[in-house]
Structures are given as structure tokens and as C-alpha cells.
């Protein structure tokens, strides 16, 4: 094995281990200095994942670890999501809580690359268990924790039983799609986070579920794809019909993940990646901020807008009526459900996190289609 190959393998392994190291460092630091350390660790993790994406290790496929370029790019999105989570949260006094996003991102990255999708599901279940254990430790949170574990485990069990049925059968596809929709937390079906801290767990968790959905497509067959598209379509239209009333905002929050699931269903993996980028950088509980609303609603300069274009261009080949329905649904959702127009009009946000998110999303929106044209995916 030559020197260069050894270096790429080492870097790939380091990129997996790095968030765990980050979690240890962040937990070990005293509280006032932990945020700075977390920023450095998350930033280095982003740089590492970008390097691993550009210089992939060749021997990975031989040893059974699945490593296609889409999954590697997905890990880049997860790493930037971690950076943004650290950037916009203040200093957390609790050690376990402040290391939780690092641990969950690390486990999500491992889940996307596991040799079999079932193993990935197991790793996700571990992430769920750890996350729920950490943020339901305060008194009075036990019922919430039980609700999270219940919903997440139901999703895992559904996907597992879909994997047990023969490949390509209708029941198997439907079961796996139901399980994935629950794991992704698509709004009317299974959105199971409520509290502010929950996005520490569920941003990487839902992102990894979307990445896993791409790998489960081979087992699910046509029924799986159609069920995913149907679920995404229902979610988009429900978002549009719910409007912008205060308590219905949770529908709007999962708008990019609904579109990402549709993109997975029509086999537009690059579009799904762009929506995943939007989800990791702007999803969760940030929908109160102007820039996040811009991103969630797929307004032009940014990855989700490019993702919409790619999705629609692929979907017109898949089925015309569904494409028309999707366009109408997205337009209606943007017109009716985008909250707080005044804040959304602002293009360049004032806070640091918003600036980083906007620049990363714009760069991704240019780079990912460029990489697709150059043949990286």
C-alpha cells in the first residue's frame, strides 16, 4: 500500500473518530471555555470531512464498509450541521448535554457508512438511547423520554421487519417507508421532538435516517419509493393548508426533510443531499429566525432552492402529475406557511451563526451541482 493510500485511510478513520474526541474534549473542559473548544473541534471536523470527500480511500469497499460519494457528501453536511449547532448555542453548564451533539453526529456518521443498513439502524438506536438518557435526566422529564424512545423504537422495529420480508415485495416497501418516515420525524406522522435541546439529538438523527433511506431503496423496491413520495407530498400539502398559525409551525419546520424524502423516492440523490444540507443547517427549532425561514422555504440563494430545481427536473421523468402536484404544493406552502415576512426579507443576517449558515448553503448550492456535472456522484 502506497503512502498516499495509507494517508487517505488514516484520514477517513480520523474523520469518524474526530467527533468522539471532540465530545471528550468538550466534556472535559470547564464550562466557560468549552464553547471555544467545541467550535475548534467542530470546525476541524468539517475540514476533515471535506478532505475525506475530496480524497476518498480506495480500500474501503473491499473491507465491506459501504462508501459511495453521496454518503461521504452527506457526512460533510452532518459535520457542518454540528458546527452550526455549536455556533448558535450558548455555553451549556451540563457536561453530558454539551457533548451530546458531538456524540450524536459521530454515531450518525457511523450509521451512514455501516456495512449493512440494519447495522446502521442499530447505531441510530444507540444514538437515540444516549440522547434521550442525557436530556431527560432532569426531574419531570421521564414521560417525555419514554415518548421519544417509544416513537423511535417503533420506527426502528418497522424498518427491521421490512428488511426481514422478501426483497421488493409491497409489504416490505410499505413497512420500511413507514418506519423511515417515523425516524425522520416528518411532521404530521411522527414528529417527536418538542423541547429546545432536542435538536441536539434529532438534527443528526433525522439526517442520518434520510441518508439510510437512500441505501434501503435497493431492498424496498417500487412500493418503498412510491410510499416515500406519497408521504412527502402529503406533508408538503398539509404544510400548505395549515397556514402560518402559531401552533402549526412544526409542520413548516420539516419542510426540507419532506422534500428530501421525495427526492430519495424519485432517486434524485443529489437533490436529497441539498435538502439535507438545508435541514442540517436550518432545521429543527430555528424557524423563528429570518435566515432559517429563508432556507426552509427554499428561497433562491441556497442549497434547497437548487435542490428543488433538481428534484423537479428528475420528477418530470418519473411522473408528470406528481411533479405538477409537487410544484403546486411547494408554491402554496411558500405563499401560505412562511412565517414573519419582514424577518425573512433580510438577506445577510446579523448574527454569526446565520452568516456561516448562509455562506455554507450558498457555496453548497453552487458546488454540489458543479461536482455532479464533473462526475463526482
Amino acid at each position: 500500500m502506497s503512502m498516499g493510500m495509507e494517508a487517505t485511510v488514516f484520514l477517513a478513520a480520523l474523520a469518524f473518530v474526530w467527533p468522539f474526541v471532540g465530545a471528550l474534549v468538550v466534556a472535559a473542559m470547564p464550562a466557560p471555555r468549552s464553547r471555544e473548544a467545541a467550535l475548534w473541534m467542530a470546525g476541524t471536523g468539517c475540514a476533515l470531512s471535506v478532505i475525506v470527500f475530496m480524497f476518498p480511500s480506495v480500500g474501503g469497499n473491499a473491507s465491506g464498509w459501504d462508501d459511495d460519494p453521496v454518503q461521504r457528501a452527506g457526512r460533510v453536511m452532518l459535520a457542518f450541521g454540528l458546527l452550526l449547532l455549536v455556533l448558535e448555542n450558548a455555553v451549556q453548564p451540563d457536561r453530558l448535554l454539551r457533548s451530546l451533539p458531538h456524540v450524536c453526529t459521530a454515531l450518525a456518521g457511523l450509521a451512514c457508512v455501516a456495512p449493512e443498513p440494519a447495522v446502521g439502524l442499530g447505531i441510530l438506536e444507540l444514538a437515540l438511547a444516549w440522547g434521550v438518557f442525557v436530556f431527560t435526566r432532569p426531574a419531570g422529564q421521564a414521560k417525555t423520554g419514554w415518548g421519544l424512545i417509544r416513537t423511535g423504537s417503533v420506527g426502528t422495529v418497522l424498518v427491521l421487519s421490512g428488511l426481514l420480508l422478501p426483497q421488493g415485495s409491497t409489504v416490505s416497501g410499505l413497512m420500511m417507508a413507514c418506519g423511515l418516515v417515523i425516524l425522520t420525524g416528518l411532521a404530521p406522522f411522527g414528529q417527536f421532538w418538542r423541547d429546545r435541546n432536542d435538536s441536539f439529538l434529532f438534527l443528526p438523527f433525522a439526517g442520518a435516517s434520510i441518508l439510510l433511506a437512500m441505501r434501503l431503496r435497493g431492498h424496498g423496491g417500487a412500493a418503498f419509493e412510491m410510499a416515500l413520495v406519497a408521504a412527502g407530498l402529503v406533508s408538503v400539502w398539509l404544510t400548505a393548508s395549515a397556514g402560518r398559525a402559531g401552533d402549526r409551525q412544526r409542520l413548516f419546520r420539516t419542510f426540507p426533510s419532506a422534500l428530501a424524502l421525495m427526492a430519495v423516492g424519485v432517486e434524485a440523490d443529489v437533490a436529497a443531499l441539498l435538502f439535507l444540507c438545508g435541514w442540517c443547517l436550518a432545521g429543527g427549532n430555528r424557524s423563528g429566525r429570518g435566515w432559517a425561514v429563508n432556507v426552509l422555504a427554499c428561497f433562491p440563494p441556497g442549497a434547497p432552492f437548487v435542490g428543488c430545481l433538481l428534484l423537479l427536473s428528475v420528477m418530470t421523468d418519473w411522473s408528470w402529475p406528481v411533479a405538477v402536484l409537487t410544484v403546486c404544493g411547494i408554491l402554496a406552502a411558500v405563499l401560505r406557511a412562511v412565517p414573519d415576512r419582514e424577518a425573512a426579507r433580510l438577506f445577510w443576517p446579523e448574527d454569526m451563526a446565520g452568516r456561516v449558515a448562509c455562506s455554507v448553503l450558498t457555496i453548497m448550492g453552487f458546488l454540489v451541482p458543479l461536482a455532479m456535472m464533473l462526475g463526482a456522484f
Binding site: E125, A129, W146, R150, T156, V157, L158, L163, L164, L165
Partner: protein, 195 residues
């Protein structure tokens, strides 16, 4: 396919209808169904895990008071589970598989218990029934990877469910000895003022 594999979904229906009391029986029947099918290491591991996941919750719950959550769900819930099982059977036979999907039927019954029942202990029993079903199905289908993942999911549900039960439900407190209580009652008269 054995008779005992058909018994498993029936016992799972009893869990849906009556609660956590039937979980132990479901575990025993699942383990038997696995062992009847073969005696290879995956079968034995699966049987041990099925027994473990079914035996621990009832034992653990004896330390806590009875869960008195008012159930609003009606008597129709087991029939709903039965209907879903029949649908699953029809779909599987239409897809061309001749084997009776005992594990998946058990899983469906457990799902109905999780979704339709309100009390936490009942939902816990339902989730563990789901896990039993997936374990049985993985063992009979010779898929060791899925067996391992199902075991992990079962362990997570068992541990965190037990933790939530410990935090939510009141413990069983042993009654004081009669002699002690009588001396209290005979003591100073300010005991009544506290109440």
C-alpha cells in the same frame, strides 16, 4: 412451520387485550418456537434473548404499585390487531410466500398495543412484544444481523423503559408492623393535627 409458531401471535393478542401479565407467556412461547425450529447457536441466542426480554419486566414491576392509568381505549383494540394480522397474511400470501409470518404478526400486535393503549407499562409490554416478533422472525429467517440489531433495540427499550418506570411509578412500601402502628395511635393526640 409449527403449531407453536402459530401460538405466538395468539399470545401476543392476549398482551394487547390484557396487558403485561401475558408478556412472560409470550416470551416462553417465542423461545419454544425458536428451539423447535432448530438448535443452532443463533436459535439458542434468540431463545435466551426472548426469555430475557419477557421475564425481566414482570419481575421488575413487582417492586412497583399497580399502574392505575385510566384506559380510554375500547374493547375493539384486539380486534383491530387481529384485522391487521389478517391483512398482513393476505398481503404475504399474495406476494407468494407460503410461510406463515408468525414473527411479523406478533410485531403487528405489539405495534397496536403501543399505539392504542395509554398506560406506560402497557406500551412497554407492547414494544417488547414487537421486539419478540422481530427476534422470532429473524431467527426463523436466518438473518443474524437483524437478530443482533433487534437484540440491541430490545435492550435499549428494556433499560430505558425500566428507568422511566422507576422514575414515574410509586414503589411498593411494606406496611409497618401492627404493634408499631398501635403504639403510634395510642401516642400523643397531635397526630390528628398533621393530617
Amino acid at each position: 412451520m409449527t403449531l407453536i409458531a402459530i401460538l405466538v401471535p395468539m399470545v401476543a393478542l392476549c398482551v394487547v387485550a390484557r396487558g403485561v401479565g401475558f408478556l412472560l407467556l409470550a416470551g416462553v412461547v417465542t423461545a419454544l418456537a425458536m428451539l423447535v425450529d432448530g438448535l443452532t447457536p443463533p436459535h439458542e441466542v434468540g431463545a435466551v434473548l426472548a426469555l430475557l426480554f419477557a421475564a425481566v419486566p414482570p419481575l421488575f414491576l413487582t417492586r412497583y404499585q399497580h399502574d392505575a392509568t385510566l384506559e380510554r381505549s375500547g374493547a375493539a383494540v384486539p380486534f383491530f390487531a387481529l384485522g391487521l394480522m389478517v391483512l398482513l397474511l393476505l398481503a404475504c400470501s399474495r406476494a407468494g410466500s407460503a410461510v406463515f409470518p408468525a414473527g411479523l404478526c406478533t410485531m403487528v400486535a405489539g405495534l397496536v398495543a403501543v399505539v392504542c393503549r395509554q398506560s406506560m407499562v402497557w406500551q412497554w409490554a407492547g414494544l417488547l412484544t414487537c421486539v419478540e416478533g422481530v427476534l422470532l422472525s429473524a431467527v426463523l429467517g436466518h438473518q443474524p444481523v437483524v437478530l443482533g440489531v433487534a437484540a440491541l433495540a430490545g435492550a435499549v427499550v428494556l433499560l430505558l423503559g425500566g428507568m422511566c418506570v422507576h422514575r414515574i411509578m410509586p414503589r411498593v412500601v411494606p406496611l409497618r408492623a401492627a404493634g408499631q402502628r398501635s403504639t403510634r395511635r395510642a401516642g400523643p393526640s397531635d397526630t390528628g393535627a398533621d393530617v
